[in-house]
Amino acid sequence: MSDATVRKPRPKFLALNEIRLPLPGIVSILHRISGAGLFLFLPFLLFLFDRSLGSPESFAVYKSVVSNWFIKLILFGLLWAYLHHFCAGIRFLLLDLHKGLELEAARNSSRIVLIVSLVLTLVVGVMLW
């Protein structure tokens, strides 16, 4: 066996509870988590869309489903997921265009994404609640 194929044992540090992600890393993992969450709830959201457009009777069913406080809580979470995915997505598109790649700019835009998506969630959420 040649030396090139011998792998040096490298230290592994993957304790999830001890890793301190920088702000851009937090935005990135939340982008993934929010996307996965939205995907998992797609059948539920399509069901609501279906009921809301079926007939006046099914619209009433839709209304009664979304007036339940627990469903409202879930929809509130999904609203945040959508808005976070939306804001972070715009940031990633700008990064693709090489806008805001510097460390300071990337940190600032991450902060903006986190704050704007939360504020939008509150504004839209309160409007719909």
């Binding site: 399509l46 809301s52 457009l53």
Partner: protein
Amino acid sequence: MVKRIVVGAHYGLRDWIGQRATAVYMAIYTVIFAFAALSLPEMSYEAWSGLFSGGLMRFLTFLFFLALFYHAWIGVRDIFMDYIKPTGVRLALHVVILFLLVGYAGWAAQILWRL
């Protein structure tokens, strides 16, 4: 920098572009939808179904769903590629996701064209 041809083989450029193109379309649609929904006089069945029964809005909404499902396919596939190591399990899950998303697309068409 490594010089290589990035199209033709499976370098993933098509999916990379597809993910971003669908993202841009969905972002634009989201803004259009938000304004259209805000301009509804009231949240009644007539007003809500009227929003989607126009030819243009119905088409744009269906396009949004198709973009969403293609976008979701690339995203979920990427997540599986990162976390699910056994090839057989991963490919089986890919098939399940594909079937699900094609089914969702049919469902979305049925919802919109029933109006």
